[in-house]
């Protein structure tokens, strides 16, 4: 049987605006892994379903995106500019 190497990367997750949580470093292969880790944090429960996500400052909409070491993931809560 082939050995399926999972290459986890160290990525930074930052929480913007009113979430009021300091950035964290986590290991993840894809955004799905990031989602799984963040769901363990009860302080984020009320935020995740309302938050959009940017990867290295570009908005993303696909959990299967492969992450690179040092990637920056931003969690963007509901907005109201103007």
């Amino acid at each position: 049987m082939p050995c399926l190497m999972k290459e986890y990367q160290m990525v930074k997750v930052e929480f913007l605006g009113p979430i009021g949580k300091s950035p964290i470093q986590i290991e993840a292969l894809t955004l799905a892994d990031v989602a799984a880790k963040l769901k363990e944090d009860k302080s984020l429960t009320s935020w995740l379903d309302k938050c959009a996500v940017a990867l290295n400052d570009t908005m993303v909409n696909d959990l299967s995106i492969k992450l690179q070491d040092g990637d920056k993931i931003s969690i963007l809560p509901p907005v109201c500019g103007g």
């Binding site: 605006g17 309302k50 938050c51 400052d57 908005m59 963007l76 907005v79 109201c80 500019g81 103007g82």
Partner: protein, 144 residues
């Protein structure tokens, strides 16, 4: 795109943008000025901005405007903005009025929905997130 601490100097911004395009041969210039209303006993509104994503959002709109022969401009406040002063000015220049009238509408509406800016009421020195007036950005819920 221009970001300023506190209230915008709306007259200066309007005049400078007019001067910038004075020789560009645009027939229509439509600014939108957003001013803080006195309501709910607030003293001010306050804003957080995530500039890298805002800049990309704005650059995307500049591309769309260019494809229409138009130009967009935008200024926004960071931090506290007292009632009856302005936190937001955006504008469209275009050769003809129809493009300008349609573009200012969708530009301002998309700004409200997708610009990474967070608003807080300021009451008696406290900063309270305006959750009820805020909109999840497109793609929200990806990690839930």
């Amino acid at each position: 795109m221009e970001l300023y601490q506190g209230s915008l100097d709306v007259k200066a911004i309007f005049a400078r943008w007019l001067d910038e395009e004075a020789q560009s041969n645009y027939g229509a210039y439509i600014p939108f000025v957003g001013t803080i209303r006195a309501e709910d006993d607030i003293d001010a509104l306050s804003f957080d901005i995530y500039e890298p994503v805002l800049q990309k959002w704005f650059d995307g709109w500049q591309e769309k405007a260019t494809a229409l022969g138009a130009v967009v401009k935008m200024a926004h406040s960071i931090g506290d903005v007292p009632v009856h002063t302005s936190s937001y000015v955006s504008a469209v220049f275009s050769p003809k009025r129809r493009v300008a009238l349609e573009l200012i509408d969708i530009f301002v509406e998309d700004f409200k929905a997708n610009a990474p800016i967070w608003k807080y009421d300021v009451k008696q020195g406290k900063r309270i997130y305006a959750a009820d007036r805020s909109t999840p950005m497109s793609g929200a819920g990806l990690l839930s």
